[in-house]
Amino acid sequence: MPYLAPEIILTALAIVLLLLEAYGAISARSVGIWSLVGIAVAIVVTLFTEVGAEPMYFWTDPNAAEGTAGKGLYMWDATARFYKLFFLGTTGLVIWMSMESAAQPVGPKTQPIRAEFYILPLFVAAGMCLLASAADFMVLFVSLELVTITFYILVAYQRESATALEAGVKYLILGGLATAFLVMGIAYVAGFAGTTSFAGIIAKYNTPDHLPVAVALGLLMILVGFGFKIASVPFHLWAPDVYQGAPTPITAFLSVGSKAAGFIVLVRVLNEAFGPTAYATWGPALTAIAGCSLVLGNFAAMHQRNIKRMLAYSGVGHSGFILMAVLSGGVPDGPGIAQAGMTAVAVYLATYFLASLTAFLVITIVSPTPEEESIRSYNGLWQRSPLLAAALAASLISLAGIPPFAGFVGKLGAFVVALQFHHYGLFFIAAISAVAGLYYYLGVVKAMFWSEPLEVTPIQVSVPTQVLLTILIFLLIATGLCMEVFAWLVR
C-alpha cells in the first residue's frame, strides 16, 4: 500500500543495512550513503502519493458503529504528507551531518561514527512518519516511544564523555517521566471515552458541555507529555544539557525533528480527538506555557556562551511562537484548531527547519569537539570560511525573523493568528521576546564578521556540502520572498 510506503521503506532499509553491516558486507560510510538513498526514495514516493479532499483512514474497525467510533488507526491527508516530507527531509540532513562529522578526526574519548549512527535515525524517521498519520492513541503512543527510545540511544552515543552521559541520563529520566504522564493521560481519556480512536473520542465529547473532570485531567496530562517533546517551559529543563551533550547531528534532530513530531501529535490530538469545547481546558494551559516559553527561552539564551545551549534556549522560545499559532481553537462548531492555525504552525516549522538545520550543519563543521562549541570560536568565521559564515548568518537572521529571510514568514503567520484569535497579551510578550531574540542572534553574526578570529586556519568544506549549503542559503532567502511555496505545500 503506497500510503504506508515511507515507513515500510525506511524500516526495511534499516533492517537490511543493520544485517549487512553486522556481517561485514558494507562499511559504515556506505551505510550512510544507502540511508540517504532510501530517504530520497521515500521522499519521492510520498510526494507522488495522491491526497484526497477528505482524509483517508486505514485499519478501520469493522465492528464499530457507522460514523460514531473507530474511523481507523492511520490517516492520510495533506497534513500527514507535509509532515512526512518534513521528517524525511530532517532525517536526510541529519544523516548528512553525521557523515560530515564522521569525516572529522576522532579524539581520544570520542566514539567513531558507527553504522548504527546512520541506521537508528531511519527508525526515528519511520516513527515520526507514523506519528504524522496517527489517528489512534495506540499508534500515537507506540510510535512516540519508537522515536523517544531511539533518541535515548543516540543522545548517549558518546558514552565516554561526561557531558554526553549527563545528557543521556537526563533525557532518559525526564523522558520517562513525560511518558508516564502521557500514558496516564491516555488511560484517563481512553478509559472514559471507551475507545482509543481519535474519531471515537471526539464523537463522544464534542458536545456543548464542558469535558468531564477526568477527561480534562487526562488531556492536561497528555499536554505535559507533548510539552516535553516540544521543549516548552516548564518541561524544557532537559533541553539545554541534552542539546549540549548530544552529538551535534542528534542535537539538530532533537531540535527540529523531535520538536515537529511533538507539534504534529499536539495539533492532531487537539484537532482530531477533541473539538472546540475542549479549548476551555487546553487553551489557558497552552497560553501560559507559550508565554513562559517565549520569555524564558529568549531571555535565557542571551547569557549563553555555548552555541548549542544558546540554540536550545532559542528553541524553547520558538516553541512559544509555534504554540501561539496552535492557540487558534475555541470557535463554536469550528474545528479543534482553525485552518489558519494549522497553516501557521506548518509554515513556522518549515522555516524553522531550514534555518535550524543550516545552523547545525555549520556547527557540525566548525565545532567538531565540545571545546570548540563556545561562541568565541565563531569569532571571525568570515575570514576562515566565507561560505560557512554566510550560511550561519543567513540561518541566524532567519531564526531572528528579519525579512527577507524565511523565518520572517513563519513569525508573521504566528503573530497574525495571535491577533486573529485575540491573544493580545501573548502577542505583546511575543513581540518583546522577538526583539530580545535579535540581540543574541545578531551577537553571533557580529562576532563572525567583525571580531578577530582566535585562529586563522581556513576551514575546509567538501564540495557536496558546499553545494548543499548554497542551496540552503538560497532556500532561506527564496522561501522568504515567495510565501506561495508554502501555501501550495500545505493546501
Binding site: I15, L18, L19, A22, Y23
Partner: protein
C-alpha cells in the same frame, strides 16, 4: 465462585505452612547454644571468605538481563497469539503473516546481537588463539 478459589487457598496454606513448619522444625530439633563466631561466616566449613559480600557485577550481566527482557516481552505477545490463532485462522492468513513478520524483525535483532558478540563471553580468548594456527600452515 468461592469453590473456584479453593485450590488457591490450599496452595496458600501449603506454602505458608511449609515455610513456617521448616522454621519451627529447625527451631525445635536443632541444637541450640553452640554459637560461635565461626558459625556466622558465609562458609562454615571451607575457605575464609574474601572481599565484600555484595561485589559489583560486570556490565555484561546487565546486558544479558536487558536482552532477556526484550525477548521475554516477545513471548508475552506470542502467548496471546497462540490463544486466538485457531479462531483467527478462518478469517485468512493475516494472523500467520503478522506473527511471522514480528518474529522476523526480532530475529534480526537476535542475529545482530549475536554477531556483535554481546552474548559471547569468551571473545577475547578466541582472538588470542587465532595467530597460533596461522604460522604452522606457512
Amino acid at each position: 465462585m468461592n469453590a473456584d478459589y479453593l485450590p488457591v487457598l490450599l496452595q496458600l496454606i501449603v506454602a505458608i505452612g511449609f515455610a513456617v513448619g521448616s522454621l519451627a522444625a529447625a527451631q525445635a530439633l536443632g541444637k541450640r547454644g553452640r554459637d560461635s563466631a565461626a558459625k556466622h561466616i558465609a562458609y562454615e566449613c571451607g575457605k575464609d571468605p574474601i572481599g565484600p559480600t555484595q561485589p559489583r557485577f560486570s556490565v555484561k550481566f546487565y546486558m544479558v538481563a536487558m536482552l532477556f527482557i526484550l525477548f521475554d516481552i516477545e513471548v508475552v505477545f506470542m502467548y496471546t497469539w497462540a490463544v486466538v490463532f485457531k479462531e483467527q485462522l478462518q478469517y485468512g492468513l493475516t494472523i500467520v503473516v503478522s506473527m511471522f513478520s514480528f518474529i522476523g524483525i526480532l530475529f534480526v535483532g537476535y542475529l545482530y546481537v549475536l554477531k556483535k558478540g554481546a552474548l559471547d563471553w569468551t571473545h577475547v580468548k578466541k582472538i588470542e588463539r587465532a595467530p597460533v594456527v596461522a604460522p604452522q600452515k606457512a
